[in-house]
Homo-oligomer: 128 residues x 6
């Protein structure tokens, strides 16, 4: 049995692995969080505190499938955040490019094209 506060702490720990430099959480000051603070609290407790935190799959594997899904579904804003997070949990730029190339088989070439445009911005390019 877990309390809300326990789940928040667990979620915050996972978020800290993905985005160590960001002060995360329901008290964030961006406009969407001010409009719907409970939503970001529930996401922290459930998405991060209950699902991402489960021991049955490594955080690295969860990060990799998250990047693939966000690219396949066209959620480029979230993709941007999770590409940065993926680097922080140990997935290399070269592996992320392979993940995005694999997306093209299942979601089509334009999905990979859009994801690579975001990735070039987040990850930089080889000769930079």
């Amino acid at each position: 049995m877990s309390t809300s506060e326990e789940r928040r702490e667990t979620g915050k720990a996972i978020q800290g692995q993905l985005w160590p430099a960001v002060l995360t959480g329901p008290t964030g000051q961006f406009p969407a969080a001010k409009l719907a603070p409970d939503f970001f609290d529930i996401v922290q407790q459930t998405a991060f505190g209950e699902l991402w935190a489960r021991p049955g799959l490594a955080v690295r594997d969860r990060s990799m499938i998250t990047v693939a899904m966000l690219a396949a579904l066209g959620h480029t804003d979230e993709l941007r955040a999770h590409l940065a997070g993926a680097l922080n949990v140990g997935i290399s730029r070269e592996e992320l490019v392979e993940v995005l190339m694999q997306v093209s088989i299942y979601a089509g070439v334009p999905a990979t094209g859009a994801a690579l445009r975001v990735a070039a911005d987040v990850l930089g390019t080889p000769d930079e």
Copy 2:
């Protein structure tokens, strides 16, 4: 039996409830309407004049499900217009936030995140 002109008038009346401050209709001057004026005429006649105008469901209910669908499908430009329209037909900002939070169950967390970013801009945030 309805004529084109009757449907246009009915559609215009519904559009006027949603967006009273906007001069709507097929003669609008935005570029897409200049490129395809017939399309916006058909939308006015059919989407608004035939479907939205049907008496079997309140305009408020149609507005609410439209906001939910646009958020779930990721149509953020249309969502922006329909969030403003929803306020005009009597749905409160607090209810709209609840609608968008419910979207996350069925379309995923990123769909709600993207919708809340638009909503924070259209609806403002509580302490503004």
Copy 3:
């Protein structure tokens, strides 16, 4: 602060409004629940216990937007369950048909066609 058990009870109460005749919950015997019992427990706690249960929007409104989203997204299995649930929380067959017709504007005619085929089965047709 809420515990897992409190959320489960709240979620079960909402599920009981939607589907009073069904014994719901994580101990259900259908194969997917046996494969992933924790998933259905988390859904009960979070989707039903935290989101559907929030007081800011009526269960009837949540049911209506859920039906619209499931039709728009093409999730016909879930749609089947939620059409039955919608009747149980007071939405009429005629209103549900209007909801599904409205879907065609935003998700296209085939989405409504597929939803109406499910609805004809769940809701029956007028002369039955």
Copy 4:
């Protein structure tokens, strides 16, 4: 200015080109049409009577892009009907296979795979 009845006649003529052997229209006896007769009437008037009937693009071209879109969006029931319709407006089985193969570039390999399974049933295979 067109009346409802004029649009119905125009729509019925287009439907007759696509599906000459089928008695179409709002009085059809399939369950979804009994549940929502107005919906199929509006589709006949608008989708067929106003959009498909426009002179600016050949019915053959409209049929071809419709098959591509339905495959890309995964609407397999509607795809089945429109593959049969495409043959009736002069698109060959070989061309339809090319259309479905092109879908894989933009919507991914599984979209084409699902469409080809339907097509093998509707169109038959070369040595049959």
Copy 5:
């Protein structure tokens, strides 16, 4: 049996029909191509060199269905490029507007609205 180099040449010839003014290919300098040069090489060899180049369907028809699919799937960046390409392979502005209007039947009004906003920019409007 085809070699990589033969497929590249075939693909480049198709790309040259669609976008004659652009120096295309894997050595392009845009950031995504620098990040994932192999991806754009595979697209040139396969999407253009093997699928678009097949003789069973005219390039004009492939262009038309591609525009329809990109609009239906909401890939606006790729749509922009393929609207320009469609003009270059002989599809008129008026036909492209008809294609995008047809999209609304199968993918909904907002898909056409978003596509027309891109099209107004790429194609210009009638009185310009």
Copy 6:
């Protein structure tokens, strides 16, 4: 520089890891392959022979992200095949359940529900 035949051999080797008991390839006898043999040949050469075979990401990782994407996109037929393939390249049933649970965060609860129904059939349930 690779020839068609080399790519086919490489693709066949990857397919053999995923589905060792199946005679795969363009000569398969299922109806879709008889209708469009070239399509399945291109998939073998490109999807498997060029993308899956790249050394920059393990086949296990490619399998895991493929399962996640297919579940997120609702391609249940392909998901069925790739769940079986995932077991063959060393991903456990328990890990696959975790992958599918993670899908619910990004694509919604119904996507995971549909995937678990397929998975219960392919993977069996714990007490079987």
